[in-house]
Structure formats: structure tokens, C-alpha cells
């Protein structure tokens, strides 16, 4: 970019003015992003540094540091069987919710992209869960899942599916799949929106050309639509993983991670550690581990996708 103007070249009197202008021009982009960078540093790097610092110290429940403790907080976590189980469960939760969301969102977006009678209404219905806060959705589900007076049991009994009440939230075997299901439900609107944006960027004439060549609908989907959607799928995967991995309200409202920690994910476990048990050091450790996992995932995934794209 510097077009051969070596910065340490001897100044030539006639060329001095344009060179300075050039140099100024090079600094401008950095100057322009400087405020945003400083802001980002302030709201991302500063807390990160603070949390790292806390995780390496013996900390009292009020967040006051009580001496350096090295990796003690982390080794305490690794010794805790609940933490290890929670780590795995968080993986199942994230893969379950994001996977389920993607599998459902692609066909929904394809249908909503077609012109049919009542499409506007259908789009509104699909987007509706987005307009309600996740916590509120979870509270409504908590009522609906109530064993004794919940809507779900009433509906199942009225429909003749069961004749006894099922206590959905009593054990993880029923509670956790339901929580994943609710997670999928609230993630669909965002994901469908991303896909619809992707679909609207596919030019219509490609399909026309493909039809003329005799490509079936299925072939068009596989060879045109899905490849064109790929960058949007990548975006949806990365953003959903980050969001779902850190998602607190559904699990907290429905079971608080119980019974007996069997529906805990890292973020609910972290909350209990920090604000119930006052283990600020360990909680900060969990934060760091979560950050590292998400960071590693995002970097790996984006690199993988970029490589694939370069190959194809």
C-alpha cells in the first residue's frame, strides 16, 4: 500500500509535501477507529482484566481481594464433579438449542420467503416470540408446565394423550429437553430473520436460468439456495452459540439448575457460586473458562468456514 515510499528515504524537497499528505492519510483510518477502539477496550478489556485478576486471588464475598492464590480457584473447580458435569451439560445445551434452531429455521425461512396468501401474518407469528422478553417467556412456561394446574397437562389430558398429570419439572429427564425446546423456540425468530435476509439477496434470475436448464426444486435448493445461504448460516451459528451458551433466564426461571444440579449450565452455576455462595474467586474462574471456550470456538469455526469457502 505504501507504494514504495520507504519511510526512512531521504527527504526530497519537491516530494516533501505530497509525502506528508500520504503519511497523514495512512494515520487517518487509525485515528477514526481510535474512539471506538478505546470504548471497546474500556467495556471489554477492562472487565476482562479485572475478572482475570479476581480469579487469581483469594476473594471474599464482597469482591475484596485477600491475597494472591495462583491457580487455586481453577484447581478447586476441576475438583468439583458438579462443575465437570455442568461443562458437559452446557455443551449439550448449546449444541441442542443451536442445532435445533438451525434445522427448523432453514425450512421456515424458505416457506416464509415464498409469496403466499397470509405470508405477512405468518411472518408476524414466527417473529412474535422475539418481542417478548425471554424471562417472561420462561415464566409463562413455568406456569404452563406446572404439574397440578399447568396448561400443558390440561391440554394433554383433554386431548386424551395421558390420563395422569406429568410433573414436567420434577426431574432433569423431562425438564432439560423442555428447556432446550424453549431455547429453540426463542432462538428461531432471530435466525429466521438472518436467513430471510440471506434469501432476499439471491437473485431471482439464477433460479429462472436453473429452471430453464431443467433443475428440480430439490436440486435448486441444494446447488443454489444452500450455498448462497452459507455465509448467513455461519453468522447464525456464531451469534447463536455465543448467545445460547451464555443464556441464563430459561434455566434459571424453570429449575434454577435443579433438581440436584442436574439442569445447571455454566452460567447458572456461576451465578450460584457468586451470589449465593459468595465464592467470587471461583465464579470469576468460571467466567474466564467460559470466555476462553467461546473465544476458541469462534476463532476455530470462523477459520474453518473461511478455509472451506476458499476451497470451494
Amino acid at each position: 500500500m505504501s507504494e514504495g515510499t520507504a519511510p526512512n528515504a531521504a527527504p526530497v524537497p519537491t516530494g516533501a509535501v505530497p509525502r506528508r499528505r500520504h503519511r497523514q492519510g495512512r494515520a487517518v483510518p487509525y485515528l477514526l477507529i481510535l474512539p471506538a477502539f478505546l470504548l471497546a477496550a474500556l467495556i471489554i478489556l477492562w472487565p476482562l482484566a479485572t475478572i482475570t485478576n479476581i480469579s487469581l486471588h483469594d476473594v471474599n464475598r464482597f469482591g475484596q481481594l485477600r491475597g494472591f492464590s495462583g491457580m487455586a480457584n481453577f484447581s478447586e473447580l476441576w475438583r468439583d464433579p458438579d462443575f465437570i458435569a455442568t461443562l458437559w451439560r452446557t455443551l449439550i445445551w448449546t449444541v441442542g438449542v443451536v442445532g435445533g434452531t438451525l434445522i427448523l429455521s432453514v425450512p421456515i425461512a424458505l416457506v416464509l420467503n415464498r409469496d403466499f396468501h397470509g405470508r405477512a401474518l405468518a411472518r408476524v407469528i414466527i417473529m412474535l416470540p422475539w418481542s417478548v422478553s425471554v424471562t417472561m417467556t420462561a415464566v409463562v412456561w413455568r406456569w404452563a408446565l406446572n404439574g397440578e394446574s399447568g396448561m400443558l397437562n390440561s391440554a394433554l389430558r383433554a386431548g386424551g394423550v395421558t390420563d395422569t398429570n406429568i410433573v414436567w419439572l420434577a426431574s432433569a429427564a423431562t425438564a432439560f429437553p423442555i428447556q432446550i425446546g424453549i431455547g429453540i423456540l426463542v432462538s428461531i425468530p432471530f435466525t429466521v430473520t438472518v436467513f430471510l435476509a440471506g434469501l432476499s439477496s439471491v437473485p431471482e434470475d439464477i433460479y429462472e436460468a436453473a429452471s430453464l436448464e431443467g433443475a428440480s426444486d430439490w436440486q435448486q435448493l441444494r446447488t443454489i439456495t444452500l450455498p448462497m445461504l452459507r455465509p448467513f448460516i455461519t453468522l447464525a451459528v456464531v451469534l447463536n452459540v455465543i448467545y445460547v451458551f451464555n443464556s441464563f433466564p430459561i434455566i434459571w426461571v424453570l429449575t434454577q439448575g435443579g433438581p440436584a444440579n442436574t439442569t445447571d449450565i455454566l452460567v447458572t452455576y456461576l451465578y450460584k457460586l457468586a451470589f449465593r455462595f459468595g465464592q467470587m474467586g471461583q465464579a470469576a474462574g468460571v467466567s474466564i473458562i467460559m470466555f476462553a471456550i467461546l473465544m476458541a470456538f469462534t476463532l476455530l469455526y470462523v477459520r474453518l468456514v473461511a478455509k472451506n469457502e476458499a476451497q470451494s
Partner: protein, 408 residues
């Protein structure tokens, strides 16, 4: 030039801020109900009228986030002068030198205002660190109509009788359960301590180790599990928090449950037709019984710059009239002797029942990591209720965990 004027105005601002602080008392209170905020505002106003040089600022915070708010405030050195805390958190506040001992302000007359049972949990190392502002105990609620239908004429005296009565009530059918068993969220462990205490067990042994593995604890958990297995509780207790069980009780779907005085207030408002009675928690074979006592305390922060003013406000809050209004409004038990002798309390059947169980009241043990130990117990019980572990397995593991937390 600009910099200097900036600095100057900054200093001026700081001066104004600190000037505004002199004589100001900030108090953080928890929101027990919609009446709490207005009550403290009213008290502040009345106090300011009598003491024009002191200004009271009231901050109301919901219960669930109070500890979180205080933690954040203290970490940022931005805490108030006074705050209401759960007395079971007090140990942390004392050990970290955050709470100020109040003995220097308290004279015999002041101390004499309190019922000793409720003051004692706020005393540590022979110093008073907090003043009980809200007090509560637990007793057994029973549904009189269900008892009548099942042909039972008096509430059970022992856990064996409770089981028999629960069977008769459950036999009424129609989805009615004899005993409402809490198995989720806050106080799940406490719901199990009641029978454990009756069978002669304790949360902590005399040597300070955990009592969860004791014979009495296993007996209590086995008894609860047998209630579940024989269908004498509502289905799937691990899905029911205390509020959920209370809702079942209000709907007339459970015959008995153990809860706090505020349930009586809720029943009066939400289910006025429900015929209920309040009685002591059943006793064990040797006549032992225990109920859970809970107090919240007002503490003064050690870093407060207006301790004398703050104390003056406390002194006012703990006089009879303000205490009476608060206790009645929120449905707590009186902590003030004079208040407990007012007709509003002596003639209230519900509160009388609670006053009667007070001698059996036991408070959360004052140990580090208590919240974590309570969680260990709750998890162990959930495993028992779900049938994932026998009472022996679950509780001996819980005792080990608790001992590790206790450092024993």
C-alpha cells in the same frame, strides 16, 4: 486553561457532594411487600420533622437481589450507612469488618425493648452487630374442611400421626394430597430439618461437624421418601417450590403444609373461604420438635461517616409505634416486647399459634459457607425424593461435602 477550570469545577462538585452528605443517612431496605417502601418513606419523613438537621434517604431493593446489591455496593465502596440483611449473612459482614458493633450505642433500656430470642442471632463474640427488624418462624397449616371430610378431629401431634392423617386425606381422591412436600428452591433443606429435629438430629453436631449423616437425619429422609412412595404427597415434589406448595394449599389440594406467618395473610386475601388452622410442627417419638426461626437485621456499616445520625434514626425505628406499624403491615412476628403485648397481636389466633412455637425455634447455624451447605443438603434431598439415591447414600455424601466446606 480549560483543564484548570475543569479541575476546579470538579473540586467544587466534590465539595458540594460531600457537603450534601454531612448529616445525610442512607438506608438500604429490602422490599418485603408493596408496603415496605411507603412505610420507610413515611418513617423518614416523620423522623426528619423531629430532626430537621438530618436527612434520610431510603433505597428499596427486592429481596432476591439484595445480597447482590450489597456485595456490589461494598466492593465499590459505595454502600449506604444502614442496611437490612438476612441475619444468616451477618457472619461474613462481621468477619470482613463491614458491620459496626452497636454496643456503644445500646443501653439497657434499648436492649430491653427486644424479645431476646430474636436479638440473639445478631450477637456475635458478645457484641451486637445487628438489630432484628423482621422475624418469622414456621408452623404447620392444616385444612380444616379436608380434615373433617377425612374424619380426623385434631391435627397430628407426631410424625406417625401425620402419616396416618395424610393417608386418610389422600384417600379422599380428586387429586388431593395429604401432605404438601416442598422439593425445590429456597428452604428445600429446611423442610427436611423439621422432621430431623423432631427425631433428635441437628444441623451441626456438638463438635461442629455436619449432622446430615446422623441416624435422625436418615430417619427423617426415609420418612419423607415413604410419604412420596405411598402417594401421600403431591406428585413430583422436586417440581414444587414453597410458593408452589402454598398455592396448592390455597386451592385446597393439600391437607397440611409447613410455612411462615405470611401464608395466613395471603390466604385472607386470595382464598378467604379456606378453613385452615395453624398448629405446632409434629413431634418425634421422644417429644422433640423444632421450628425454623428467621430474622433479618438492620446493620450499620463500619465505613459510615454519619454513625450518630444513623443511630438516632435506628433508635426511632425501634420505638413501639413504628415497630407496630411495620410488623402488622408485613405480617411478621413482633420482635419488640411492647408490640407483642398489643391487642392486635395477642388477639390474633394465627400469630398466637406462632408465638407458641417460638420456644422451639432454631436459627440457621452461624458458620462460614452456610448457603453452600444448605444447597448441598437440598441437592441430597432432591436425589432421595427422585429415587436416585437412598437416604443413607445421599445424606452421608452430603455430610462429607458439608464437612469439607466447614473445614472439618
Amino acid at each position: 486553561m480549560k483543564k484548570i477550570s475543569c479541575l476546579a469545577s470538579g473540586i467544587a462538585l466534590a465539595a458540594v457532594a460531600s457537603m450534601a452528605q454531612a448529616g445525610d443517612v442512607r438506608i438500604s431496605v429490602t422490599e418485603y411487600s408493596s408496603k415496605t417502601g411507603p412505610y420507610f418513606q413515611k418513617m423518614a419523613k416523620q423522623f426528619e420533622e423531629a430532626n430537621p438537621d438530618i436527612k434520610i434517604n431510603v433505597e428499596v431493593t427486592p429481596w432476591d437481589v439484595m445480597l447482590q446489591k450489597l456485595t456490589t455496593d461494598i466492593a465499590g465502596n459505595a454502600n449506604a450507612d444502614l442496611a437490612i440483611i438476612g441475619t444468616r449473612w451477618l457472619l461474613d459482614f462481621v468477619e470482613q469488618d463491614i458491620a459496626e458493633p452497636l454496643d456503644g450505642y445500646i443501653d439497657d433500656e434499648f436492649r430491653g425493648r427486644f424479645i431476646e430470642t430474636f436479638l440473639s442471632p445478631s450477637v456475635m463474640d458478645d457484641k451486637i452487630y445487628g438489630l432484628p427488624v423482621a422475624a418469622s418462624a414456621r408452623a404447620m397449616y392444616y385444612n380444616k374442611s379436608l380434615f373433617e371430610q377425612a374424619g380426623i378431629d385434631a391435627p397430628p401431634e407426631t410424625w406417625d400421626e401425620l402419616k396416618e392423617d395424610a393417608k386418610k386425606i389422600s384417600d379422599l381422591g380428586d387429586g388431593i394430597a395429604g401432605y404438601g412436600l416442598q422439593g425445590k428452591e429456597i428452604e428445600t433443606d429446611v423442610y427436611f430439618y423439621y422432621p430431623m429435629w423432631s427425631y433428635g438430629g441437628n444441623i451441626l453436631n456438638d463438635d461442629g461437624t455436619s449432622g446430615f449423616g446422623s441416624e435422625a437425619a436418615i430417619q427423617a429422609a426415609t420418612m419423607y421418601k415413604s410419604l412420596i412412595d405411598e402417594g401421600l404427597t403431591q406428585d413430583g415434589p422436586t417440581a414444587y417450590s414453597r410458593e408452589d406448595v402454598q398455592n396448592l394449599f390455597k386451592q385446597g389440594k393439600v391437607g397440611m403444609m409447613i410455612s411462615a406467618p405470611f401464608l395466613a395473610n395471603q390466604i385472607k386475601e386470595e382464598a378467604p373461604d379456606l378453613q385452615y388452622g395453624i398448629t405446632a410442627i409434629p413431634a418425634g417419638p421422644d417429644g422433640d420438635r423444632g421450628t425454623y426461626g428467621v430474622t433479618d437485621s438492620i446493620i450499620m456499616f463500619g465505613n459510615s461517616e454519619n454513625k450518630d445520625e444513623a443511630w438516632k434514626f435506628l433508635d426511632y425505628l425501634f420505638t413501639q409505634e413504628p415497630r407496630s406499624e411495620f410488623t402488622l403491615g408485613e405480617g411478621f412476628l413482633p420482635v419488640n416486647k411492647a408490640v407483642s403485648e398489643e391487642p392486635a397481636f395477642t388477639e390474633n389466633e394465627d400469630l398466637k399459634a406462632f408465638a407458641k412455637v417460638l420456644p422451639d425455634a432454631r436459627f440457621a447455624p452461624v458458620v462460614n459457607g452456610w448457603e453452600e451447605i444448605a444447597d448441598v443438603a437440598s441437592s441430597a434431598l432432591q436425589r432421595v425424593y427422585l429415587g436416585q439415591a437412598t437416604p443413607e447414600e445421599a445424606l452421608s455424601r452430603a455430610a462429607e461435602e458439608a464437612n469439607r466446606i466447614l473445614g472439618k
